[in-house]
C-alpha cells in the first residue's frame, strides 16, 4: 500500500480531530449516496415502463415528506457545522506557551527564522511535543503554508501578518507545500518539516547561529538604518522612545488608541504616516523598499527585547 495511500499520516494534535470529523462526514455522505442510488435503482426497475400507453396515477406531493426531508438534513448539517467550527476554533487559538517562529514566504521559497538566530530555507526543524506558533509574512504575492500531516493551512498575505500554530506528535519528516498559486515555480515552493526528539532538537539548535539571535540582528539593523538618531531611548528624540513599547497601548494624534503589536510596528516602519503618535510630527520617512520583510521581523524582535515584557504568545523565547 506504499504506492497507494488512502489517508495521510497523522502527525499533529489536530490531525486525529480533523480525521474524526472526516469519518463522520464520510459516514453521512456514504449513507445518503447509497440511499439515493439504491432508491433510484429500485424505483427505476420496479416501475419501468411496460407499455407505451401507460399513464401512472400516483401522488405527486406530500407536505409531511417535504418537511421530513428538509428538517432531517438540516439537523445533520448543523452537526457538521458545529463540529467543523469547534475544530477550527481550536486551530485558531495558539496556546500561550507556544514557541514562536517567523516565516517569510517569497517566490518561490520558504524562509524560516528561529528566535535563536538559526535560519533555514525550505526546511523547518521543530521539537516533538511542543506547540509552535508561526508568524508569517510575504515578500511578494499570496502564498499558503500547508502541512498535510498536521492538517493545517494558512495563507500568507503580503502587507499583513498571519499566524498558524500546531503541535507535532510524531517524529519524522513531513511535506510543506505552498497551497496558493504563486507563479511559475509554485509547485517548487515546497519543503520539509523535521520533527525531532527534544534532545536532537537541542543538539541541532546548538549547531550555532553565526549571526546571533534574531533580536541581535534587529539591533544591528536598527543602528545601520540610523533609527536610533530619532528614536532615542530616553525619549528626547524627534520620534517616540521605543523602550517598553511592545504590547502597550499607544495614544495617537487623531485621538485613537492602538495596541503596539507586530502589525502596528510593521506598519509604522513601512507606512509611518498611517498612525502618528500623539505629540509627535509625521517626520519619519517610509522604509518600504529599504528593509525586507525579514528585516522588519528582526526589528520587531529587537523592539520586543526592549522590554518591558513580551505579550502573551508573542516573544516567549526572547533573549535566550
Amino acid at each position: 500500500m506504499d504506492k497507494l495511500p488512502l489517508f495521510p499520516e497523522q502527525a499533529s494534535t489536530f490531525a486525529p480531530g480533523v480525521d474524526h470529523l472526516t469519518y463522520f462526514l464520510l459516514a453521512v455522505a456514504v449513507f445518503f449516496t447509497v440511499l439515493i442510488f439504491c432508491t433510484i435503482f429500485y424505483l427505476a426497475i420496479r416501475y419501468r415502463r411496460r407499455s407505451d400507453k401507460e399513464l401512472p396515477h400516483a401522488p405527486h406531493g406530500g407536505m409531511a415528506l417535504e418537511i421530513v426531508w428538509s428538517v432531517i438534513p438540516f439537523g445533520i448539517t448543523m452537526v457538521m457545522f458545529t463540529w467543523g467550527a469547534s475544530v477550527f476554533f481550536n486551530e485558531s487559538r495558539p496556546p500561550d506557551n507556544a514557541m514562536p517562529l517567523y516565516v517569510v514566504a517569497k517566490q518561490w521559497m520558504w524562509k524560516i527564522e528561529h528566535m535563536e538566530g538559526q535560519r533555514e530555507i525550505n526546511e523547518l526543524h521543530i521539537p516533538l511535543g511542543r506547540a509552535v506558533r508561526l508568524t508569517m509574512a510575504s515578500e511578494d504575492v499570496i502564498h499558503s503554508f500547508y502541512v498535510p500531516a498536521f492538517r493545517v493551512k494558512q495563507d500568507v498575505v503580503p502587507g499583513k501578518y498571519s499566524t498558524i500554530w500546531f503541535q507535532p506528535t510524531k517524529p519524522g519528516k513531513y511535506h510543506l507545500f505552498c497551497a496558493e498559486f504563486c507563479g511559475t515555480r509554485h509547485s517548487g515552493m515546497i519543503g520539509w518539516i523535521h520533527v525531532m526528539e527534544p534532545q536532537d532538537y537541542q543538539r541541532w539548535l546548538s549547531g550555532g547561529a553565526p549571526e546571533g539571535t534574531l533580536s541581535e540582528s534587529g539591533q544591528k539593523l536598527f543602528t545601520d538604518l540610523a533609527c536610533s538618531n530619532c528614536h532615542k531611548a530616553d525619549g528626547t528624540g524627534r520620534c517616540p522612545s521605543l523602550e517598553g513599547l511592545f504590547g502597550k497601548t499607544v495614544q495617537l494624534a487623531n485621538g485613537a488608541k492602538v495596541v503596539a503589536d507586530e502589525a502596528y510596528i510593521r506598519e509604522s516602519i513601512l507606512h509611518p504616516a498611517a498612525k502618528i503618535v500623539a505629540g509627535y510630527q509625521p517626520v519619519m520617512p517610509t522604509f518600504q523598499g529599504l528593509v525586507t520583510e525579514d528585516g522588519v521581523l528582526q526589528l520587531i524582535e529587537y523592539i520586543k527585547s526592549l522590554g518591558p515584557k513580551p505579550v502573551v504568545g508573542g516573544g516567549g523565547a526572547l533573549g535566550k
Binding site: 504506492k3 489517508f7 480533523v18 470529523l21 472526516t22 462526514l25 453521512v28 455522505a29 445518503f32 449516496t33 442510488f37 432508491t39 433510484i40 424505483l43 427505476a44 416501475y47 419501468r48 415502463r49 411496460r50 400507453k53 401507460e54 399513464l55 401512472p56 401522488p59 405527486h60 406531493g61 415528506l65 417535504e66 428538509s70 438540516f74 457538521m80 457545522f81 467543523g84 467550527a85 475544530v87 477550527f88 486551530e91 485558531s92 517566490q107 511578494d140 504575492v141 499570496i142 499558503s144 492538517r151 493551512k153 495563507d155 498575505v157 503580503p158 502587507g159 499583513k160 497551497a179 496558493e180 498559486f181 504563486c182 511559475t184 515555480r185 509554485h186 509547485s187 517548487g188 515546497i190
Partner: protein, 541 residues
C-alpha cells in the same frame, strides 16, 4: 442538409438561407444554435487544455510541458470552460431556444438584445482567445491579486477584458429572460403552471443580472491597478489583496448556481417526462430554485477560510453555506420521489438525468465537507476541492446539458439521434467521469495541492487513474459530437412529440415554425399533466 429532410413544411431552419440569415437573425431559436456552436468550440478548446494537463500529470516530474506552460494550461482550461462554456451553455443555448416556447411565446422580449448578447459573447471570446494564442495567461481562472496585477507577465488584461465583455452577454440574457417570463406568458400560463425549466432559468437570470456587474467592477479595478498602478489590491500600493477575493467570489460563487440551476431545470423536465408523472413537490422544487439563487449570494466567504478572514466571519459563512444545501437536497429527494409509481423509460436523456442526480449528490455532499471549517482548512486549495467542483460542474451541469441536448434534439433538428450509441456514450461518460475525478478526492485529502506542475511521487498512482479516466471521458464526449452530426442527415425523422411530453414546445411541429406556434396556445392545465398527451390509459403501480 437539415432542411432536406422536411422540405414540405416551412420551419425556422429552412425559411431563409445564407450566412446573413443566421448572423443577423433575431429568432431566439437560431440564436440558440449560434450559441450552441460557439460554446461547443470553447468546450473543445477547454477540453484540449484539460487533455494536456492530464498528460502532464501522468508523471510526477514536469516533463511534458514547462511550468510556465502548465500554469497557462490550467488557467486557460478554467477560463474557457467557466466563462465561455459553463455559464452560457444551458441558458444561452437550450434556455434561449426553449424558454419562450415553453411559456407559449413567439420569441424573447428583446430579440435584438438577444442577438447582441451573442455578439458580446463572441467578442469577449475572441479577446480571450487572442490572449491564449498570443501567449496565454497564467494567473489561474481566479486572477488572485497581487499576482495578477503586479507579478504576472502574461496576457492578464486581454483575458480579463474578454471576461468583462462576455459578462454583459450574461447580464443581457438574464434581463431578457426575466422580462420574457414576466410579460410574455401565453394565456393561462400562470406562474404555478410554468415548467420547472422556466422557473430555474428565472432564478438563474436573477443571479446573472444581480451578480455579474460585480465581476465587471472587479475587473475594472484589476485593470486600473495593473495598467495605471492605482493601489486597490496590491499592498505595496496601499491596497488589500484579500479585498479582491471578496469581490471575485461575491460573483463567482453565485456563478456556480448560474451553471447548476439551469441544469436542475433540465433534470426536472427529464425526470417528469420519462416517469410520465408530474414532478413530486412541484412548488418545493420551484421555490428551491429561488432559494438557491438568494442564498447563493450569502456564502462567498467560504472560499476565504484560510485567507486571513476573521474567525467569526468564517463561522458565519460556514453556517450560511449549510443553508444552501437544504434546497438542493429538497430537489434531489423530490426527483427521486417522482419515480415512485411512475412509468419509467430508460431513454438516453433519462440516463443522463440519473447520472446527474447521482453525481450531483456526491458533489453536493462533498460540498457539505468543505463547508465544515475544520475540514476545509486541510483540503482547501487541494485536489479535494478540484474533485468537488468538477462533480458539480461536469458531473452536474454537463450531464444535464447533454441530457437536455438529447431530449430536445428531435425538436431542434427534426431528427432523432441514434439511441444505441447514445446510451453507450452516456454510460462511458458516467464511468469515465468517476474514474477521472473520484481519485482526486483521495489525492486532495492526502494533501496534493492544486495547480502543481511537479508533484511528489506518492501521488502518482492516483494521478494515473485520473488520467486514464480522462481518456475514457474524452471518448464519451466525442461520441455525441459525431452521432449528433450524423443524425442531421441519417437520423430518423422526428415527430412533433416523440417522448409524450406535455411542454408547449412539443405541441408544435419539429423543427418548430418560425414563430414557434401557428396559433397562440392557451394553457388550461398544470405543467406535467400527462393525461392530456397520453390517450389510452393503462393503470400501473
Amino acid at each position: 442538409m437539415i432542411t432536406a429532410a422536411v422540405p414540405e413544411r416551412e420551419n425556422y431552419l429552412n425559411y431563409k438561407y445564407g450566412i446573413k440569415s443566421w448572423l443577423l437573425t433575431k429568432d431566439h431559436k437560431r440564436i440558440g444554435l449560434l450559441y450552441l456552436f460557439t460554446v461547443t468550440l470553447f468546450f473543445c478548446l477547454g477540453g484540449a487544455f484539460a487533455t494536456m494537463i492530464r498528460i502532464e500529470l501522468l508523471t510526477p516530474q514536469g516533463n511534458f510541458v514547462s511550468s510556465e506552460t502548465y500554469n497557462k494550461l490550467f488557467t486557460m482550461h478554467g477560463v474557457a470552460m467557466i466563462f465561455f462554456f459553463l455559464i452560457p451553455a444551458i441558458p444561452a443555448t437550450l434556455g434561449n431556444f426553449f424558454l419562450p416556447m415553453m411559456i407559449g411565446a413567439r420569441d424573447l422580449a428583446f430579440p435584438r438584445i438577444n442577438l447582441l448578447s451573442w455578439y458580446l459573447l463572441v467578442i469577449g471570446g475572441l479577446f480571450s482567445l487572442f490572449a491564449m494564442l498570443a501567449g496565454g495567461v497564467d494567473t489561474g481562472w481566479t486572477f488572485y491579486t497581487p499576482y495578477s496585477t503586479t507579478y504576472s507577465n502574461s496576457w492578464v488584461i486581454a483575458t480579463a477584458l474578454g471576461i468583462f465583455i462576455s459578462g454583459f452577454s450574461s447580464i443581457l440574457t438574464g434581463l431578457n429572460f426575466i422580462v420574457t417570463v414576466h410579460r410574455m406568458r401565453a394565456p393561462g400560463m400562470t406562474w404555478m403552471r410554468m415548467p420547472l425549466f422556466v422557473w430555474s432559468h428565472y432564478a438563474t437570470a436573477l443571479i446573472q443580472v444581480l451578480g455579474t456587474p460585480v465581476i465587471a467592477v472587479t475587473i475594472i479595478l484589476l485593470f486600473c491597478e495593473r495598467v495605471f498602478h492605482i493601489g486597490i489590491f496590491d499592498p505595496t500600493l496601499g491596497g488589500d489583496p484579500v479585498l479582491f477575493q471578496h469581490m471575485f467570489w461575491f460573483y463567482s460563487h453565485p456563478a456556480v448556481y448560474i451553471m447548476v440551476l439551469p441544469a436542475m431545470g433540465i433534470v426536472s423536465e427529464l425526470v417528469s417526462v420519462f416517469s410520465r408523472k408530474p414532478i413530486f413537490g412541484y412548488q418545493f422544487v420551484a421555490y428551491a430554485s429561488m432559494a438557491i439563487a438568494v442564498l447563493g449570494f450569502l456564502v462567498w466567504g467560504h472560499h476565504l477560510f484560510v485567507a486571513t478572514e476573521s474567525v467569526y466571519s468564517a463561522l458565519v459563512f460556514s453556517f450560511l453555506s449549510y443553508f444552501v444545501a437544504i434546497p438542493s437536497a429538497i430537489k434531489v429527494f423530490n426527483w427521486t420521489a417522482t419515480l415512485y409509481k411512475g412509468s419509467i423509460s430508460f431513454a438516453t436523456p433519462m440516463l443522463y438525468a440519473f447520472g446527474f442526480i447521482g453525481l450531483f449528490t456526491i458533489g453536493g455532499l462533498t460540498g457539505l465537507f468543505v463547508a465544515a471549517l475544520g475540514f476545509d482548512v486541510h483540503v482547501t486549495d487541494t485536489y479535494f476541492v478540484v474533485a468537488h467542483f468538477h462533480y458539480i460542474m461536469v458531473g452536474g451541469t454537463i450531464m444535464a446539458y447533454l441530457g437536455g441536448l438529447h431530449y430536445w434534439w428531435p425538436k431542434i433538428t427534426g431528427r432523432m439521434y441514434p439511441e444505441g450509441w447514445a446510451k453507450l456514450s452516456a454510460l462511458i461518460i458516467f464511468l469515465g467521469f468517476n474514474l477521472t475525478f473520484f481519485p482526486q478526492f483521495i489525492l486532495g485529502y492526502l494533501g496534493m495541492p492544486r495547480r502543481y506542475h511537479v508533484y511528489p511521487d506518492e501521488f502518482q498512482v492516483l494521478h494515473v487513474l485520473s488520467t486514464a479516466g480522462a481518456s475514457v471521458l474524452a471518448v464519451g464526449y466525442l461520441m455525441p459530437m459525431v452521432y449528433f452530426i450524423w443524425s442531421l442527415r441519417y437520423g430518423k425523422v422526428a415527430s412533433a412529440n416523440p417522448w409524450g411530453a406535455t411542454g408547449l414546445e412539443w405541441q408544435t411541429p419539429s423543427p418548430p415554425p418560425v414563430h414557434n406556434f401557428d396559433v397562440t396556445p392557451i394553457v388550461t392545465h398544470e405543467a406535467y399533466d400527462y393525461s392530456t398527451v397520453i390517450g389510452q390509459e393503462v393503470e400501473v403501480g
